[in-house]
Amino acid sequence: MRTVEVLFVIVILLGAFVITTQFAVLPSPSQAFGTNLRELSQSTLETLDAQGTLSETVFKDTSDPAWGDLQKAISASLPPNVVYNLSVYDLSADSQGVITYQLANSISDAGFGADSDASSLMLTSPNVTFTQDPQKVGESTGQPITLYILNCSDANGWWITGYTGQSLASDLYGLLSPYFTTTVLINTTDQLGLLLENSTSLEGTIQNAVVVNTFGESVPIPDDYCDGGSHDDEGFDPSHDVDGTYAKYFHTLGSLTRQYNWTWVSIVGYPFYYVTNTEYFVSDQNTYGIYGMEDVRTAGVNAFLQGLDGASYSYDETGTASGVGVVQLTSEALELCNYYGVYPAPYQTSSRALTQSIESNYHLDRFATVFELKSGRIAGATFRHQDGSGALTAIGLTRIPDIRVAALALLMYYRPTIYRSEFGASGTSRLVTLQLGQQGGT
């Protein structure tokens, strides 16, 4: 009886073994890898085109002897047990922009077995030059806009750790100047004074201009607007804070932004938190050891927004910005990153996001929202007054600043068109695929 039971057990064991071996078909350990044909193919295409030879050949007529040379060159490059098929496709686009691929030529040396892989390379004709011309901001309305970048040598930055205002100005110039008819660097606070006074001695057109403050949370201030200066009634408020405050200067900036229809850009941090002038505030520092500046704190942005709103100055210390942590680019921003070729990290940390209530308090409309709103706060956007006069672009991110975010915000706001050569135009681009197969053992 026991023997019969054991025989049952053995039958079950054998059955389990047979079923297992049916399903668990393990390859031989030596088959753990084969030649990486895709990478070999990719490197072959790239090296053949290293000096542009492949690009020249694939655009030639199929009867040209260069095709025969290419065949010999590929055969000479690949190991003897590797066979290939090189196919060239012509790209063409119809009126609706739909691109089609049509086989232009194909060369090969043998048929393929089971083991093959391929890679491709897009080649452009050596006879075609692709260009990319941006439309100038304001060009479509017949009113070209001037870009003023604050590059004051007598000012210090804050919340721009790792950079100086001047280095950021240089980077910004490189990023944005192609989009503006005129770009002017404001190199001193005295020159900034000329800008504020609408002086004709400055290059460019002050009306409708874009003014970018590259000094982070601090804003350069001319001597004349400091206590004791000829315009100190427009810059200094002696009746508030301990020894007076420069919140009034920011009210003046807001009013001028409204008057001249500027777009004022704060590239990072809490907007209008300090004023800076290294010659006037020689012994004043921002409590973090950065001399040449004095704090205005939370009253600064409120005063600016009052000025932008056309309201009279009223000292207001209400906190308008605070941290919301990690924020992500809006889908609109991501799309325009591709369009303009500007790629900041899609996730950023915001420690100075403006509250949404400023829109109703100061009659602002929000445009070009860079980051998704979080907790009722806006980490990056452009706020234009409902009168259509003046705007503020504020990027409330933490340091270290990424100047590309500010550039993206401006481009999102103005949306200049980029005129590109058509890559899909017939005869300008060809797709080359090289399929490799391995014959024999690995």
Binding site: R2, L14, N36, A50
Partner: protein
């Protein structure tokens, strides 16, 4: 009762036997699976190593052009990108032979050992061993120290062989046969840019000079071509011949030289400072164990040729281009300085007497003379070695890079 006991014994015996058979079979299956998985890890590691070595310039990115210590290992040319390797970084690798051993050269007048990257034609790139990156450092920087072994073999794609063709009297001029082969196949219709530098005595006791011949030829259907030099005597005139072959994006280089110094190579160039491009020109008796007495004195003439992207050689003036080398203590070596950022060939012609002359070439950048380099450990004895193959460009010359990887320990 006895029947039940026997029944139990038989059933238990059969059961144990069945279990043993099943366990053995499953063990074999598991072992196969474990081996497969381990081998796949090695194959993946080989691909990772290949990508790191070929597609990363290392850190600092220009480490191949300086004497600075290395923080990250990679051989990509930082200026070219893609599958282009730096001709300089490869020169700083402590080369090894097929057994993974290094071949060092000692020069008594500097007291230094030099890494020896040998070209196929007897010429060498000799770099102070202290400036080279060794295998252990590379494995540490690649994060595989004591876990994986690897080896990199960098070889030219095209094989160009050159031989002298015998001529029958009354003819005595030089005829060279150039044969270009790809991957086992002759390469027909390849364009050849060639340069022949004939070493001339210069007369009296003066320094040797060179007379240059250059031209363009094309290989025939058998991948070969005969090139004749009517003004060069086939056996009396020493010369150095370099040819660059190209066809549809595949490029190679070949070299051949002929000396009249009875088999003794009398001048050895050493790289003294990689950063500055300074080169020592030494008497070979201070380097090799030659025994001839009296030791011959040698006069040399050094010329540097920059190789441009069209495979044209352009002569560049260098300091101490001529010198009188004497063996032994009290006789210093000469130094010259090359334009370190330009790849090219340092051509040193030398003269023992009016009838015995020769030449030696120091390639500055390994691609200029199609030098092969092997770097890394010896895979011999390991059960499973994964290999990766890629095509690369080194200063315009087509190369193939093979990376082998294997698992260390059990």
């Amino acid at each position: 009762m006895a029947g039940a006991t026997i029944d139990h014994i038989i059933s238990v015996t059969i059961l144990i036997a069945a279990l043993l058979v099943a366990m053995t079979t499953y063990n074999h299956m598991f072992a196969t699976a474990v081996d497969y998985d381990r081998n796949r890890q090695v194959a993946t590691k080989a691909a990772d190593l290949m990508n790191t070595i070929c597609l990363s310039p290392g850190n600092p990115t220009d480490w191949g052009e300086t004497d600075t210590s290395l923080l990250g290992f990679g051989l990509q040319d930082p200026e070219a990108g893609g599958y282009a390797l730096s001709p300089y970084s490869i020169m700083r690798l402590r080369a090894s032979n097929s057994s993974g051993d290094s071949q060092l050269v000692y020069y008594s007048k500097t007291g230094l050992y030099y890494n020896n990257i040998s070209a196929n034609y007897g010429n060498s790139i000799l770099i102070p061993i202290g400036d080279c990156v060794n295998y252990t450092t590379a494995t540490e920087l690649l994060g595989i120290n004591k876990t994986y072994g690897f080896r990199v073999d960098i070889t030219p794609t095209l094989d160009i062989s050159i031989s002298q063709v015998a001529v029958s009297p009354p003819h005595n001029h030089l005829i060279l046969k150039v044969e270009v082969r790809g991957s086992g196949l002759p390469l027909s219709d390849a364009t050849l840019n060639y340069y022949l530098f004939q070493v001339e005595s210069g007369g009296g006791g003066s320094y040797p000079s060179i007379k240059a011949y250059s031209g363009v030829e094309q290989t025939d259907s058998s991948g070969s071509v005969l090139i004749e030099f009517d003004e060069v005597h086939e056996s009396n005139d020493p010369y150095s011949f370099t040819v660059y072959a190209s066809l549809s994006g595949v490029n190679g280089v070949g070299h051949y030289s002929y000396d009249t110094v009875d088999g003794l190579e009398l001048v050895v160039p050493f790289i003294q400072d990689f950063d500055q491009g300074t080169v020592i020109i030494a008497h070979s008796f201070d380097v090799h164990n030659y025994t001839e007495t009296p030791v011959p004195e040698v006069k040399y003439n050094a010329t540097f040729f920059v190789l441009n992207q069209n495979f044209q050689l352009q002569e560049v003036q260098i300091e101490n281009s001529t010198g009188h080398l004497v063996y032994g203590e009290g006789w210093p070596y000469f130094t010259t300085q090359l334009p370190a950022s330009e790849v090219g060939l340092l051509f040193v012609s030398y003269r023992r007497d009016a009838n015995r002359m020769g030449s030696v070439i120091l390639p500055w950048g390994i691609g200029t003379l199609g030098v092969s380099v092997s770097f890394g450990g010896d895979p011999t004895g390991y059960d499973f070695v994964a290999t990766e193959l890629r095509q690369v460009i080194i200063n315009g010359i087509s190369y193939q890079v093979k990376v082998s990887a294997w698992k260390l320990g059990s």
